[in-house]
């Protein structure tokens, strides 16, 4: 029940936030913050009752009893569709990340959103609910449902509260996600049909559909359906072009959620579904996926370097960073997978913070164009120092979370393909180039003395401090996160090894 409650709290909370607007336009955000924190506290309390997380045995992918939590109730029994939720280390990590960044997103909407505040916070909470559903649903039909649920409120957030080109960006975001989602739906339905014709039983349960026997050709096509849906979301090259528009046009809280959480659903889907459901097809496909990953790393970095729009630059840096996730997943060994998981968490924090800084700049300067900035450190030393921290984190300074992630991915990848590692490692150099350029153009250089700008206040500094501490913690002592993911990854690696008799 815990898992359903987590989602219900957010759904109902969203409704409450919307209704609470009648008491004043500042009330909804307080309600929203309270709801997210309540959800977080509820989860943490429930977790304290569970057996020790670190000492867990590896959950067997096909056996729900070995997972941390499992819940199942009938929904449409005729087709074997059920409310099936389960939680293991990786989904738990993602749920925690979602709720923490959810709180951050509410905080970043504090002064940014001034119209229809109630409906905005409602959409924010409903998006979070959809994301939690995606991370916990283990019935493929239900999973698809949540996949769509998180899309629609997000669409509204961009389309209503976005910037000057919001309609175009929102539509593009919707079509990309929707079209690729349909491919996944076709794959899901076909997979269930094959399972039915093999066994005579309808089921959409992940645990039943693993190990479904089918022709190699069929598996390859079905795998592609999942892959495309997830890689569009990730986003991976060459399906990333919706992202710069959506991120740039979305309101700050929307960007935070998009970059911090929504992108991770794609990565999660690859690890959870695309590879385990079709291990053999994934082996055949891995070289292509790896090349797409490396291409994304370099391409994203080059395009980030070319941008003049502060937010767009950060958006392209996400394309580059998510390339590492793709590399990590398809290198499919312990090191690289741990790196991918780590990247999901660390990138969530660093990019969310950078988007908040972008939002604060837009709020104060009414522009995102870096050609109109410069010397802002002089006007806002606190914001400058904070920006410096996150820019350095995002270029992968050792001691901060992003470094651990990228190093592990590359180290794992090197064991699979040293030459590709060399290409991906170019991302370290190009990453430094665009990151430092961002700093130079906005905060360094000749200041405009006539500007009167408010520096970061207490609320903003608190939010930023939270993310700084998180990144330093992840960078210097990543073991808690690694330990949470380790049993799950071990289980997946063992599972794929028994199916295909080796590594990807």
């Amino acid at each position: 029940m815990l898992m359903i409650n987590l989602i219900l709290i957010l759904l109902v909370g969203g409704l409450l936030a919307m209704l609470s607007e009648r008491f004043g336009s500042h009330v909804p955000r307080m309600v929203a913050l309270a709801v997210v924190l309540l959800d977080l506290v509820y989860l943490l309390l429930a977790l304290s009752g569970l057996p020790e997380l670190g000492g867990l045995q590896a959950p067997v992918p096909g056996d729900p009893q070995t997972w941390l939590m499992h819940y199942r109730a009938e929904w449409i029994p005729a087709f074997g569709i059920s409310f099936e939720f389960a939680l293991d280390g990786i989904s738990l990590l993602m749920v925690l990340l979602t709720l923490v960044l959810g709180a951050v997103a509410v905080s970043s909407s504090w002064t940014d959103v001034t119209t229809k505040c109630g409906f905005f916070e409602a959409n924010l909470l409903w998006t979070l609910a959809g994301v939690l559903g995606v991370f916990m649903a283990l019935d493929l039909f239900l999973f698809f449902l949540f996949w769509e649920v998180m899309l629609i409120p997000m669409y509204f957030m961009i389309a209503i509260w976005g910037h000057e080109q919001r309609a175009y960006a929102a539509m593009k975001f919707f079509i990309f996600t929707q079209a690729s989602g349909l491919l996944m739906l076709v794959s899901v339905l076909t997979l269930a049909t094959i399972h039915q014709s093999n066994t005579g039983v309808w089921s959409f349960s992940y645990f039943d559909l693993l190990n479904t026997q089918m022709a190699a050709q069929t598996a390859y096509w079905l795998m592609l359906g999942f892959f495309v849906a997830f890689v569009v979301k990730l986003p991976g090259f060459p399906f990333h072009t919706w992202l710069p528009d959506a991120h740039t046009q979305a309101p700050t809280a929307g960007s935070v959620i998009l970059a911090g959480v929504l992108l991770k659903t794609g990565a999660y889907g690859l690890i959870r579904f695309a590879v385990p459901l079709f291990p053999e097809a994934s082996i055949d496909f891995a070289p292509i996926a790896l090349w797409l990953g490396a291409a994304g790393v370099v391409y994203g970095a080059v395009l980030a370097f070319a941008q003049t729009d502060f937010k767009r630059l950060i958006a392209y840096s996400s394309v580059s960073h998510m390339g590492f996730v793709l590399l990590g997943v398809y290198a499919w060994n312990q090191l690289a997978l741990q790196g991918a998981v780590m990247q999901m968490v660390a990138h969530g924090f660093s990019t969310a913070a950078l988007f908040m800084i972008a939002g604060s700049l837009q709020e104060r300067l009414h522009t995102r164009d870096m050609r109109e900035m410069g010397g802002l450190w002089h006007n806002m030393p606190r914001m400058g120092a904070v920006a410096m921290f996150f820019i350095i984190a995002s270029l992968g300074l050792p001691g901060l979370g992003n470094f651990v992630a990228e190093f592990l991915v590359l180290l794992g990848l090197f064991q699979v393909d040293p030459w590709l590692t060399m290409i991906a490692a170019l991302g370290l150099i190009t990453g430094a180039a665009y990151s430092l350029l961002l700093m130079q153009r906005s905060f360094q250089g000749e200041p405009d003395e006539s500007r009167r700008l408010n520096d970061f206040g207490t609320r903003e500094m608190l939010t930023m401090a939270l993310m700084m501490v998180a990144l330093i913690g992840l960078g210097l002592y990543p073991q808690p996160v690694l330990d949470m993911a380790q049993p799950v990854l071990d289980g997946l690696l063992q599972f794929s090894a028994t199916v295909v008799g080796g590594q990807l």
Binding site: L335, W377, G399, F414, A433, Q444, E446, P478, L482
Partner: protein, 611 residues
Amino acid sequence: MRQLIGLIPLIPLLSSVCLMLLGGRLPRLWIGLLGVGSVGLAALLTGLTAVDFLANPEPFQLTLWVWMQVGNFAPGVAFYFDGLTLVMMSVITGVGFLIHLFSTEFMEEDKSYARYFAYLNMFVAAMLILVMADNLLLLYLGWEGVGVCSYLLVGFWYQNSANGQAARKAFIVTRIGDTAMALGLFLLFTELGTLNIQALGVAANETWQVGDKLPLIACLLLLAGAVGKSAQLPLHTWLPDAMAGPTPVSALIHAATMVTAGVYLIARTHELYLLAPIAMIAVALVGLSTSLMAAFTALTQRDIKRILAYSTISQIGYMFLALGVGAWSAGVFHLMTHAFFKALLFLGSGAIIHCLHHEHDIFKMGGLRTRMPVTFWSFMIGSAALAALPMTSGFFSKDQILLQAYQVDGIGPWLWLGGLLGALLTAIYSFRLVFVVFFGKANTEPDRDTGWRMALPLSLLCALALFGGWIMLPVAEVFPTASGLHPAHWVEYVSIAVPIVGVVIAYLVFYSGQLRVDGLLNMPLMQSLQRFWYSGWGLDALYDRLFVRPYYALAALFKGEPVDAVYGLIVAINQTLNGWLAEGQSGQMRRYLISMVFGLIVVLAIMLGAF
């Protein structure tokens, strides 16, 4: 006592964090006390550890925690302490302390006093971690950490875009080397299963034979990292520009400590290099060619800091030469003496710049001998040591390097000759600087003299630069011993004589004017050669054409997102189709009737055809 070495990097780090968080609110005195005191305390602890260690010279290891563990990849936040670590830590904290003290006066009037010491303290912490790390990953943390601090300090006066440009260049050029080094780490871990430096040495000797391909690749990758950090060919171009930072920063980071990290790295991993003789030769050749290239360049510069910067590049070239010929302890010895005399020279130049209204051009100085006596003597002693005049510290270290280079089979005498040429040039350019700046007629009057916080560090460094050559390095256990053979006496005499000749030449040309070189210098060939050297052998322009501009062009080419054009095409096709179909909805009854009849005919035809 030995457990306390963990505190040595921690104290400056904590001080740095304090200064970042509270900096704006603390009075200047407190900031200075915190910034200087933390490094002083670290130096004191290093001294205590040294006493303890020298009494019982047994290397030891201290693990604070396991950084990350994934399978058998489990690098620790762990320190390894031996004689080499001790030498490096002493230089960092000792020279570092003096430079911090100097900075309190140099930066006195700067608005961002706290920010300066926050960065500088953080640098000391990162540099200490670099040399104390027991595994290559933690070393890499320090390695990147000092890189970021260098970036922050080069661009310290951020309001001038040129400084930002120099800072970015410093970071990105070194990052190219760092990335190669990271690949080296991947290779070493994949092949040997560990990144612990001591364990790597053992495992490499068990797994590989001398001359194997893999150790060669690994060593070349590490060399690429070292070349970037230590500003050697072909990645040295960032260092002259990095002089944009405050001068004490140049003394600490770009002369005494960070730029020698590459030397430390190679010395630390010498077990690997011994398995790759070709990599050793590469190290020696990189060192020698850099040394000569930079010495020629230094000869033509006018900016006092750029002269010293090229001189640093050149001297680190000597250290690389030493490492390449297997003279490990001589290389580290030169690292130490160079830290003394080059810090001295940089601080001296800082004093001049401070007292001379930020003047950098040596030809606008002159006659400072009587006006700034402390600085004059600093420069005399520093330049004597740099030129390796007998009995100065630089003499002992450089002499060792040249003699050991001579003994290498085959190319040894050639390396020695090259080194001698470098030594001659060094003597000429360093005393050119002294004669032009301190003698002759005064072109600019200083507006003040140095206070005690500048004079004291200068005096102490003078003593070290003079007598540092007598220090016995406790590194006998760390490195394999060099051969006991001695080259012929004439080799030794020539090595001693050449720098003296250089000083005499400088005297004749730049002081007494008895040796007239104008005619030679004004020949067209020499003119263009000078311009070539002045520009740093045209490498900046070359890299600009080869890498920087193409990258900008590439970025500009892709800026419009070509991938999106594909999706744009899909949209365009849909819109065209939509246009065609929309035409059908014209509202004209007769068109609808025609199409209805047409449709009926088609349907009928199909039905009839089906029957």
